[in-house]
C-alpha cells in the first residue's frame, strides 16, 4: 500500500462524503428491511389495530396476539397443515427431479457417445428463450389433455426439469477431464456410478445451483399451481393461498383476516429466510452461479 494524503487526512469533504455514504446505507437498510418488519407486525396485531386511524406504528402489548398461528393450523377453513405439506412436497420433489434429471442429461450430453447430440443441444438453447408466460395457455391445454389437471404429477411435470439446468450441468461436466471417465470405464465402473461417484462430486457448485434454484422454484411456485389445480384443491400450495387471499383483500373481501394473511406470508418466508441467513455463502453461490455461468 502506498501511503497517500487522501487516506490519512480528515478533511471536511471526507467527513461529508462519509456522512452521505452512511445516510445512503441507512436508507437502503430501511428500504429493504422495512417490508419484512411490517409483515411480522401485521401477523401479530389484532384486526382492530389494522383498522386504527391514525396509524399507530408500534402496537401496545394488549393489541398483540399470536392467535393467527394457531388458527391457521387448527381451523379447517385454512388447513395450513395440508397446504404447508403440499408446498414442502412440491419443493422437495422439484429439487430432487431437477438435480437427478439435469445431471443425467448433462452427463450424457457431455461425456457419452450419443447419436443425435448435435440436434439436442441447439434445441435446448432455443427452449431456454421460451418464456413460461408465453406458453402457459397451451401448456395448460396440453397437461389437461393428458388428464393430469388437478393432480400431483400434473403439478410437478413442467417444473421437474429445466433446459437451463441441463445446460448448466452440461457446461460443468464438459470441464471434467475425459481421462477421468476413461480410467473409470477401464476399471470396470458402470455409467451410473461414474455419474454419481465421480461427476456429481466434481461439479458440486453447479449441483448446488440447480438444487437452490429448483427448491426455491418449487417453494415459490404460483402461476403453474394456480393454473393447473382447481380452486380450493387438495393440492393447494402456500403461494396460491396467499395470492388468492390478497386478491380478495384488494376489493375489500375477507377470505382471510389480514393478520392471518400476514401470518401465512411469514410461514412461507421463514424457512427460506433461515436457509438464506444460515447458508448465505452457499445460497449466493447458487443464485449467482445461476445467472453468471448460465
Amino acid at each position: 500500500m502506498r501511503p497517500s494524503k487522501r487516506t490519512s487526512s480528515i478533511t471536511p469533504q471526507r467527513v461529508l462524503g462519509w456522512s452521505l455514504y452512511g445516510l445512503a446505507l441507512a436508507a437502503g437498510v430501511v428500504f429493504f428491511g422495512f417490508p419484512l418488519l411490517w409483515m411480522v407486525r401485521g401477523s401479530i396485531i389484532t384486526q382492530a389495530m389494522w383498522m386504527k386511524q391514525p396509524l399507530e406504528w408500534i402496537p401496545s402489548a394488549s393489541e398483540i396476539t399470536f392467535r393467527a398461528f394457531g388458527q391457521l393450523f387448527q381451523n379447517p377453513q385454512y388447513r395450513m397443515g395440508q397446504v404447508l405439506l403440499n408446498t414442502a412436497l412440491v419443493a422437495i420433489f422439484t429439487m430432487f427431479f431437477n438435480v437427478l434429471f439435469n445431471c443425467m442429461a448433462g452427463f450424457a450430453l457431455a461425456k457419452m457417445k450419443l447419436p443425435g447430440k448435435g440436434i439436442v443441444l441447439p434445441v435446448l438453447f432455443v427452449t431456454l428463450m421460451v418464456p413460461f408466460e408465453g406458453m402457459m395457455v397451451s401448456l395448460y391445454l396440453t397437461v389437461t389433455r393428458l388428464g393430469l389437471a388437478d393432480t400431483l404429477p400434473g403439478l410437478l411435470l413442467p417444473m421437474s426439469t429445466s433446459a437451463f439446468g441441463i445446460i448448466l450441468m452440461w457446461k460443468f461436466f464438459c470441464r471434467v477431464p475425459d481421462e477421468l471417465v476413461e480410467a473409470a470405464v477401464v476399471d470396470g465402473a458402470d455409467w451410473s456410478s461414474i455419474l454419481f461417484r465421480i461427476m456429481i462430486p466434481t461439479a458440486a457448485p453447479a449441483v448446488a445451483t440447480v438444487a437452490v434454484l429448483s427448491f426455491l422454484g418449487g417453494w415459490e411456485a404460483f402461476l403453474w399451481p394456480m393454473l393447473i389445480t382447481d380452486p380450493n384443491s387438495k393440492f393447494d400450495v402456500l403461494q396460491k393461498v396467499i395470492a388468492s387471499a390478497t386478491v380478495a383483500s384488494m376489493s375489500g373481501g375477507t377470505e382471510m383476516e389480514w393478520t392471518f394473511l400476514m401470518a401465512a406470508a411469514l410461514v412461507s418466508t421463514l424457512p427460506v429466510l433461515l436457509m438464506f441467513l444460515l447458508g448465505q455463502r452457499f445460497f449466493i453461490v447458487g443464485l449467482t452461479g445461476g445467472a453468471i455461468k448460465g
Binding site: R2, L25, V29, F32, G33, P35, L36, W38, M39, G42, M51, Q53, P54, L55, W57, F101, M104, A105, A108, K113, L114, G116, T127, M129, P131, E133, G134, M135, M136, V137, S138, L139, L141, T142, V143, L157, S160, T161, A163, G188, D190, W191, W219, E220, L223, Q239, I242, A243, T246, V247, M250, W258, L261, S268, T269, V272, L287, T288, A291, I292
Partner: protein
C-alpha cells in the same frame, strides 16, 4: 456383468436412457406447447378445442383491439420505468455494499432479504404498505407530512388509481429485483482489481471519473446481462398485476391479456396469438441485446 465390449455397445443406449427423462419433459412441456400455441394462433376456438383455421386474423386482431394495444402499451410503459431504474439501483446498491468494515456482513444480509421473500409474499406485504386511506404506513407518513406543511391531508390511492397503480407496482418489483441483481453485480465488482483504482487515485482521478473509466467499463458484460434479464423480465411481468389490480387501472400487461383471453373470455386463438407474439418479441430482444453486448467485449 457384461465385459468391456458390451459396455461400449450399450454406451449410446445408456446415454439416451440418461437423456430421456429431461428431454421428454422439455419436449412435452416446452416444445409441444410452443407448437400448439403457434398452431392455435391461426385458428378461432373456444375452450373445447373446436378449432377452425382463420389465417392471420388473430394477429390482425391484436392491432385492431384497443385492449390488446393498450396491453402492449402498458407493458412498454412498465419496461421503460423498470429497466433503467433496476439497472441504476442495482449498480448503486452494489457500490454501496462494496466496502469492508465491521458490521458490513449484517448490513448485506438486510439488503439481500428480498431474495428470500417470494414474489407473491412481496406483493402481499406491499399491498398493506400501500394501503389506501390513512391506515397504510406510506399514506400515514404522507398525510402527517402534508399536515405538518399546512396542507389538507390527502392520502393517495396507490393501487386503486390509473395514475399511480403502475408506478406502485414498479416500486414493488424493484424492491425484489434490485436485491437479486445487486448480488450479481457485487460478485462481479469484487473481481475488479483494486490497483486500478489506486493507480487512478494517484493520477488524481476523482470518484466520478473512476466510476466512468473503471467501474462501468469493467462491469460492462455483467451490466449488459442485467439489462437483458431485466428486459425479458419486464416483458414477462404478470404476478403483481394479476394479484393487485387484475389488470384494472391501466395495468393490463401482455401476459395478463393472454391469460384473460384464454380463461375469462375463452378466445384461445387470440390468447395464443398474443402469447406467440410475446415469444417472438422476447426472442428478438434477446438476440438484439446479445449482439449489442458483443460490441463491448
Amino acid at each position: 456383468m457384461g465385459g468391456l465390449s458390451g459396455r461400449r455397445f450399450s454406451e449410446s443406449a445408456t446415454g439416451w436412457l440418461f437423456l430421456t427423462p429431461g428431454a421428454a419433459i422439455i419436449g412435452a412441456c416446452v416444445l409441444v406447447p410452443t407448437l400448439i400455441a403457434l398452431a392455435l394462433s391461426f385458428t378461432q376456438c373456444s375452450r373445447f378445442l373446436n378449432a377452425h383455421f382463420v389465417g392471420f386474423d388473430n394477429y390482425l386482431q391484436i392491432f385492431r383491439d384497443r385492449e390488446c394495444l393498450s396491453a402492449f402499451g402498458n407493458t412498454l410503459y412498465y419496461l421503460l420505468l423498470y429497466v433503467p431504474l433496476n439497472l441504476a439501483m442495482s449498480l448503486a446498491v452494489a457500490m454501496l455494499l462494496n466496502r469492508q468494515f465491521p458490521g458490513m456482513k449484517i448490513i448485506r444480509s438486510i439488503y439481500f432479504v428480498p431474495v428470500a421473500v417470494s414474489g407473491i409474499v412481496a406483493v402481499s406485504i406491499f399491498r398493506f404498505i400501500f394501503n389506501s386511506g390513512a391506515t397504510g404506513p406510506v399514506n400515514a407518513l404522507l398525510t402527517s407530512l402534508q399536515s405538518a406543511m399546512g396542507f389538507d391531508p390527502q392520502p393517495v390511492p396507490w393501487l386503486w388509481d390509473s395514475h399511480w397503480a403502475m408506478l406502485t407496482i414498479t416500486f414493488i418489483t424493484l424492491w425484489k429485483s434490485t436485491a437479486f441483481f445487486s448480488i450479481i453485480i457485487l460478485a462481479a465488482m469484487q473481481d475488479v482489481p483494486r490497483d486500478l483504482y489506486e493507480a487512478a487515485a494517484v493520477d488524481g482521478a476523482g470518484l466520478a471519473s473512476q466510476f466512468a473509466h473503471i467501474t462501468v467499463p469493467s462491469l460492462m458484460p455483467i451490466l449488459m446481462m442485467v439489462a437483458t434479464l431485466s428486459i425479458i423480465g419486464a416483458f414477462r411481468i404478470f404476478e403483481p398485476m394479476f394479484v393487485l389490480t387484475g389488470g384494472r387501472y391501466e395495468t393490463q400487461t401482455i401476459t395478463l391479456k393472454a391469460y384473460n383471453s384464454a380463461f375469462q373470455t375463452g378466445e384461445l386463438g387470440l390468447a395464443n396469438a398474443i402469447s406467440f407474439s410475446l415469444l417472438i418479441i422476447i426472442l428478438l430482444a434477446t438476440l438484439a441485446m446479445n449482439s449489442i453486448s458483443r460490441r463491448f467485449e
